[in-house]
Symmetry: C2
Subunit: 246 residues, 2 copies
Amino acid sequence: MSHSIPRSLVKDLDLFRAVPEQDLDAVLAIARPMRLVAGDPVFQQGQSAEQFFILLHGHLKVVQTTAEGEQVMVRYVIPGEVFGIAKAMRRPTYPASCMAVEESIVLAWPSSEWDHFMTGNLQFAANALQAVGQRLQDAQTRIKELSTEEVEQRVARCILRLVDSSGEKTEDGIAINFPITRQEIAEMTGTTLHTVSRLLSAWKERGMVNTGRKLVIVRKMDDLIRLAEGNLSDSANKPAARKNPV
Amino acid sequence: MSHSIPRSLVKDLDLFRAVPEQDLDAVLAIARPMRLVAGDPVFQQGQSAEQFFILLHGHLKVVQTTAEGEQVMVRYVIPGEVFGIAKAMRRPTYPASCMAVEESIVLAWPSSEWDHFMTGNLQFAANALQAVGQRLQDAQTRIKELSTEEVEQRVARCILRLVDSSGEKTEDGIAINFPITRQEIAEMTGTTLHTVSRLLSAWKERGMVNTGRKLVIVRKMDDLIRLAEGNLSDSANKPAARKNPV
DNA sequence: CGTCCCGTTGATCCCTATCAAATGTAGTGG
DNA sequence: CCACTACATTTGATAGGGATCAACGGGACG
């Protein structure tokens, strides 16, 4: 006895953009809603990709574990995004693990339905292609940053991006509105929790951010943007660093 | 007066897999073939994405230039692959530049045709999604490597991958069958040409590879694989490095 | 045959990982 | 409600992997 899910919840999602309402209803009829609390796994790396999902509320993280046991953050999932679409790319298993970092609500569909959606509505296929294309862009941006930028710059960009997608205005500045640890920031930027901690401490010292346990609040966006653009952190002037000169 | 392109040239390409032959003929009728020599540009970063392409013969490189003027290799295009499909992901411009590294032949279509292909044949849409999905996987693999592995390991993997996709057996071992510089290897692995040069010299010393101007030949795959898997290069035993222990 | 372009190799330095240890904070069970 | 415990964070000290700086050698091509 599944309650039907209100159409209004999904009709504005990118994936369903310009999809006729009747098709939407058919899609929703077979969606299975799931409620998660912080730490709940959604799927595990290597598992057969039986389902795909859309996040309606909350925040999830997608993490890859290397052969040596190190973790690399693939991405945070924010409300409205599809995830777990391995099967759509003809991958039999999930290439990473996914878990909730706070209370969340997701819709799940059997992977077999993907082809139905694609065949039933061409707009859906185009939307999916765009979604994956956007992720590819993001990944390539990250490669560029890992290849050419220094740690401070990468961490600054990372914080800015999180604030952009999940920022929430508070009396003290703009806060990242879900719990996030130094370790997780390190896994996103290819560094260590120690270095992230040192950076945040330094920034806090200068009043650019406020921090707490699993909490980051940005107080001076402009200064952070300057760091992200590559300006040196200390007022002293070192010569510009340039790894692969033209 | 465009000569029609033989159907046999494209019918085995991933992008056209399971696409009916009559649809293929329609597609080929509007394809524009281009011949390139080493150094010829195909498109430039920032240009309006007016065309998309398939490489029939040769090798191209796709490179991104950062705001600071450093180059990052996005990928090498090998025969049979689609590239320049920015418009399909609803990006108005090419996010990187593409040029031939040796004599090459490509087919070009106006970007506007993409939607025709998609609408006309659903299989095509699925194939495109898979192609982009594969690239996303590759990009994420690279992020993982940049985040957790050391330079020697990354360069070893890079060489192995090139040998895998574009290796050619010679009397001396397996050669990368297109010209490639130390600088380009550096741009693929996030390091400098100096470090790549030193590594190749060391490997050559040990008889693992043979090198020359714009040339790399692998002589001992096994040893190279061992390096890529993370085993230390010198026979001496250092403690295992581990950045983000569990 | 000169001139780029590519590659090699030494010397030095510095960013940041690593090692080590203490402090702070939330949650839990008695 | 408090002791206990697990997890997060901070901070100092040290070392090392590679980037950077510098200079030269060698092959290809016009």
